[in-house]
Amino acid sequence: MLTTLAPILLQATWETLYMVGVSLLLATALGLPLGVLLATSGRGELLEAPLFQKLIGPIVNATRSVPFIILAVAIIPFTRLIVGTSIGTSAAIVPLTVAAIPFIARIIEGAIREVDSGLTEAAQAMGARPLQVVTKVLLPEALPGIIHGLTLTAVTLIGYSAMVGAVGAGGLGDLGIRYGYQRFRPDVMALVVITLIVVVQAVQMFGDRLARKADKRNI
């Protein structure tokens, strides 16, 4: 039995990692600048842009308040526009990315706000331009927090990726629903759950180790 299941399980695990990995990468690329702006565009702050701040906050909140399964279905036209199809593993990356962007933005905003404002002041006194303050001071100092946040996002995305199985993407969640639930195969279900636990555990351990390495505050 295991010999027939192993390739399917491996395939599903690979699909999950692919979906989560790519969407995490894309969402970080888009969420990072958004998070920086959320943290620094307030009145009297580094990259002052109060209008932007007022506009973007509610949009971020709105995206975060839509349950993921509804978001995934609701943006199908958008997904089709970008990927060309709304079915399959690559198509699932679109809703996963869209859901993760505001999540990551808020996490990065929080991590940056944790940085002592005295450091910003010191950098400005040294003659740092606003963008230099962000790249040379705020982001390096916030790095441990950002890594923790991205680990959290990765774990959340693994959970979400099980849901996109419902809109035709592959992955571990899809395998669990189709084989484990719909075909009454508790053994498959158990295997899927165990694999998910192992994957999440590994991601968390990797993230923790990375964060610890980046954190020079307690040596």
Binding site: G118, L119, M126, G127, A128, K136, P140, L143, A214, I219
Partner: protein
């Protein structure tokens, strides 16, 4: 004929030298800073009409109680705070009218040292000292050439690759001082630099600053609430109270003959602290002996 030209040349040199000596490094004229009213708080005048000249190579102390406006004053010099009105002239140039583009270039001519050090925890000692140069776009070789001689100057040769978390308060402040010096500034702004340090470390840091002033001829503005710091370090002192300079003069004459009530009470504190310091030192010695005994 030739002789006359020589004399003229000499006179011109003397004139230029005297003008350079007489022209203050920093001149604050009628500087005011008012924070606008905000959510239930009335508008707050942090500085009311400040006039202060600081000569090149001089160490000037600005002393006052918390809320007197000394921190705002020092931040008006490098424009971390923008004066509401008045003029700030540094090395002959009016700086309050500088554009956002030019402001960083101006600030690179001034070094600043902070009470809480404000070091980057993610960078080593070397990396922290290198930061101002990196910001100015210096090459790796230029950075090394500037940072390497600073490490022995502040007594941190052996801490080059350590992170701030591995340093004591005094060592952190030495890094802060080296960082402020790395871009070869004309002026060093010191904001309560010894207030987070114990008395012995305070003495060492003040000695270091005095030494740097002598060696590099650096102009220094020193903000403090302790008369002891003024006494140990400064040539001249300005006493502040509620946003105004109430008394100003040579340190020795102010100490000998304090006129304003604020100065008198700050001097009285100093005396009290001296007494308390002696008592505390005795206590510390006693407890040290006890703990030594227990460990032994």
């Amino acid at each position: 004929m030739l002789r006359m030209y020589d004399r003229l040349g000499f006179a011109a040199a003397v004139f230029l030298y005297v003008r350079k000596r007489l022209r203050p490094m920093i001149r604050l004229s009628n500087v005011q800073k008012t924070y606008p009213a905000r959510r239930g708080n009335d508008a707050h005048a942090a500085l009311r009409s400040i006039d202060l000249d600081i000569a090149a190579g001089e160490i000037v102390g600005v002393i006052g109680r918390s809320g007197a406006g000394k921190s705002t004053l020092i931040r008006c010099i490098n424009l971390l705070e923008r004066p509401t009105s008045g003029s700030v002239i540094v090395d002959g140039a009016e700086v309050t009218t500088l554009s956002k583009r030019d402001l960083p270039l101006f600030r690179r001519q001034l070094g600043m040292v902070f009470q809480h050090f404000n070091l980057l925890s993610s960078r080593t000692v070397y990396g922290n000292i290198a930061l101002p140069l990196e910001l100015a776009g210096a090459s790796k070789a230029e950075i090394a050439a500037a940072v390497d001689p600073l490490l022995p100057l502040v007594g941190l040769d052996d801490k080059r690759d350590r992170y701030p978390a591995e340093l004591s308060g005094g060592q952190k402040q030495r890094v802060g001082i080296a960082r402020a010096l790395s871009s070869n500034p004309k002026v060093l702004l010191c904001d309560e630099v010894t207030s987070a340090l114990d008395p012995e470390t305070t003495r060492q840091i003040l000695t270091l600053l005095k030494d740097i002033n002598k060696r590099l001829g650096l102009t220094m503005v020193v903000i403090t609430h302790e008369m002891a710091v003024v006494k140990a370090l400064c040539d001249r002192v300005a006493v502040m109270d509620r946003g105004v300079i109430v008394e100003e003069g040579n340190v020795s004459s102010i100490f000998a003959n304090p006129v304003h009530a604020t100065t008198q009470s700050l001097l009285a504190d100093e005396f009290m602290e001296f007494r308390a310091g002696t008592d505390a030192a005795t206590d510390a010695d006693a407890s040290a002996t006890i703990s030594d005994g227990q460990e032994g």
